[in-house]
Structures are given as structure tokens and as C-alpha cells.
Symmetry: C2
């Protein structure tokens, strides 16, 4: 239930289409600080246990049309002592593509975080088969932040 007493919902016609800045500076920043989020629409998931095609139901917001899905996930290290992130699922793996994009606050010069783009491959590296599933992974420019927020963009 929402603090106001109503259901966890917004009026008809509203869709969740946050900007990069809103995702990082409102949702992820509150999440890592354990602050209350006005409307807690972003689900926490285990990225290594969920295939991209399973998330449409898991990260559903309301009943309207939806072509982007949002989630919080904890970083899973590939090796206990290393810094590399494990992005494998049962069916495949996420692989970074292109360059990370810096996210700035407002129109100002203050950088608050980065956005990484990843593509899902079915199979095991280096023999995976590329799919249409794209993910944006956002991380804050703060120390020791182990939680990330992500956006899944369609796919077939």
C-alpha cells in the first residue's frame, strides 16, 4: 500500500518512462540510501537467475502497454576477490557493447553516474548467439554502491 492509503498505482494514462537522470538520481540514489520511494515500481531481481524473456511479467507496472522493464539488481562478482561482474544466466549472458555514457545532473556539469549498454547472447561465451534484447545498466558515481538499476528494452 502507498503511504497515502491508496493502492500502488497512478491514474490511468500514466506510464513509467524515466529519464536517465531520474533513474539514477531519484530511484537508484534512494534505493542505495534505504530511503522511501514515492511509488515503489522498480522490482528487485537477481539478474543471474532471470532470463530476459521472463521479465515481462516480473517487472510489470500497471495494466497498460509496456515496452521497457525496470529492475534493481545486486552486482554478482565473477570471482570473489575480483572486480569483474558475472552477467551470465542459465540460458546465456549479457555482454557490454559500445561505450559507457556519462549521466549528468540537469544541464549542469556534475556527473552523477554512468550508463552501460549490454546485449543478451544465448549460449556460452565465446560461442553465444546474439539476440535483440538490450539492457541499460546504471551505476552511481559513489563509493561501494553494489546495487544497480537497469532498463530492459524489448527483444523477441
Amino acid at each position: 500500500m502507498h503511504p497515502s492509503g491508496g493502492a500502488l498505482s497512478v491514474p490511468p494514462g500514466f506510464r513509467f518512462h524515466p529519464t536517465d537522470e531520474e533513474l539514477l538520481y531519484y530511484y537508484l540514489r534512494k534505493k542505495v540510501a534505504y530511503e522511501a520511494i514515492d511509488l515503489d515500481v522498480i522490482r528487485e531481481i537477481d539478474l543471474n537467475k532471470l532470463e530476459p524473456w521472463d521479465l515481462k511479467d516480473r517487472c510489470r507496472i500497471g495494466t497498460g502497454p509496456q515496452n521497457e522493464w525496470y529492475f534493481f539488481s545486486h552486482k554478482d562478482k565473477k570471482y570473489p576477490t575480483g572486480t569483474r561482474t558475472n552477467r551470465a544466466t542459465t540460458a546465456g549472458f549479457w555482454k557490454a557493447t559500445g561505450r559507457d555514457k556519462a549521466i549528468f545532473l540537469g544541464s549542469g556539469a556534475r556527473r552523477i553516474g554512468m550508463r552501460k549498454t549490454l546485449v543478451f547472447y544465448v549460449g556460452r561465451a565465446p560461442h553465444g548467439k546474439k539476440t535483440d534484447w538490450i539492457m541499460h545498466e546504471y551505476r552511481l558515481d559513489e563509493d561501494n554502491v553494489e546495487v544497480q538499476v537497469g532498463r530492459w528494452l524489448g527483444g523477441v
Copy 2:
């Protein structure tokens, strides 16, 4: 103010992107019945007194990016005794294009209204100059409904 006591707003990241059905069956139906609308984001305007390029400020919702603008308007008859609608402004006029689209409820067979597409021309008919401003005008399949809801789509 919202009945809950908060400001007229939704949490960060939410944008107003209603479906045809939501516009007609929730917003317009409540408007013509004088029922309360959860979050009264659709402004009432006089379509004949407002140029399309003036509406970005008038029909603003929140502070996020916006490329569609919504409004309620009363039908202005061209002639007191006729049925034709006056869609002229000071600078030009709106002209219907294409075929009206029937809007159905859910996936069912019940038709609830129609959507008309119009293009804005600068000048006076028949010599107007076509622009990129597009409008969708929605009307309910009910008797004597003089209020319509519209959606403006970009333009330059």
C-alpha cells in the same frame, strides 16, 4: 490540490501517454459526466483561440520531457443552426485528414467512440499552407456530447 492532500503530481519518471481507450473511456467520459478525475492533468482550452505553437506551455504536465499535449475543448459550431465544426484559429485552421478511426473497449466489440486526425494549415482555406502540427480529436458515441478530448502531436 489532489484529494489525498498532495500536490497535483505523480512520482518522478511517470509520463502521461494515455491510450485512445483511456482518453475516451476514462478522461472524456468522466469529464462529460462531471465526475471527479483522479489527477486532473488535461486542461480545458478554447481551440479557436489558441494556436498550436502556444499550447506547449498551456498543456504542460509536470517538468519532464513532453512531445504530446492534451486538452478538452467544446465544439464550436460553424453556423448556429448547422452541424459543422468551426476549427479556425487566428493564424489558420485545422483540416481533417484520412479516415476516422473507431475506438473499441478493451479487445471487445463494443465501440465507444471515434478518433479524427487533423492537420494544421496556416492561412485561410482554400489557400492555407500545411504544417507539421497534427491533432487527434476524440468523441464519444453518446448523444449530445459537446466536449471533446484532443491530443496534439509535435510540429515545428
